[in-house]
Symmetry: C2
Subunit: 128 residues, 2 copies
């Protein structure tokens, strides 16, 4: 087994994800972590994400038509909100799903709920 080294890059990437409070994609992470490490490369971000995911430190959040996003693993069951304006993804606490309605014979293993609309920052601007 190869040892892991604590690099500035990994620290910055982990910090970005931990402090975001919402799922980030590779570029958002690059932008965020890149503020401290201007030379940070996108390849490093992807490599690090892959590793963090295999270590179950983060989990992937996939939204149709969007690049994969990542957030801390182990959060309480929740769903996501996609802002049509700024394309940011936010966590929606809890689960509003009351019934599954799957057809007879279908075995549901998991479910996803994605709300779409305008986040609190974009809603006012668009409403004007």
């Amino acid at each position: 087994m190869k040892s892991q080294r604590k690099t500035r890059q990994r620290k910055a990437i982990r910090a970005a994800i931990e402090s975001a409070g919402r799922p980030l994609n590779a570029h958002e992470i690059l932008d965020c972590a890149g503020r401290d490490l201007p030379d940070l490369g996108i390849a490093t971000v992807y490599r690090c994400l892959k590793r963090l995911e295999s270590e179950d430190f983060i989990c992937r959040v996939e939204i149709a038509g969007q690049a994969a996003r990542y957030e801390l693993a182990g959060l309480h069951h929740h769903h996501h909100f996609f802002c049509d304006d700024c394309s940011r993804v936010f966590d929606v606490p809890g689960c509003g799903l009351a019934a599954l309605n799957a057809p007879e014979g279908f075995a549901v293993r998991e479910h996803e709920v994605v709300l779409r609309g305008l986040c609190s920052e974009c809603a006012p601007a668009t409403a004007l």
Copy 2:
């Protein structure tokens, strides 16, 4: 404005979508419509889908990590089920969503619910 011609290809593609009873992606449509028209090309399928969508005859169904699927437009509100085994997408009647839970200030315009698991055909096989 250019007139539209009724070609065998378009008829076969529309028929495939109308008779499917579930959302199909370009390749599924090619396979299905291709049974009657062996020479049908994937480019024609894409061109036709684009047109049918702009005419609001069909609507796009997007599922994370999957190629776009299409189904007849104007169906009653419903959601989708993705089979982890055969990768087919099925319609789930109704909507089990009781609450949206969007954060304060967020404006929800629409929502998607995707169930994942095994369809009735794949569930028994896997359960053995």
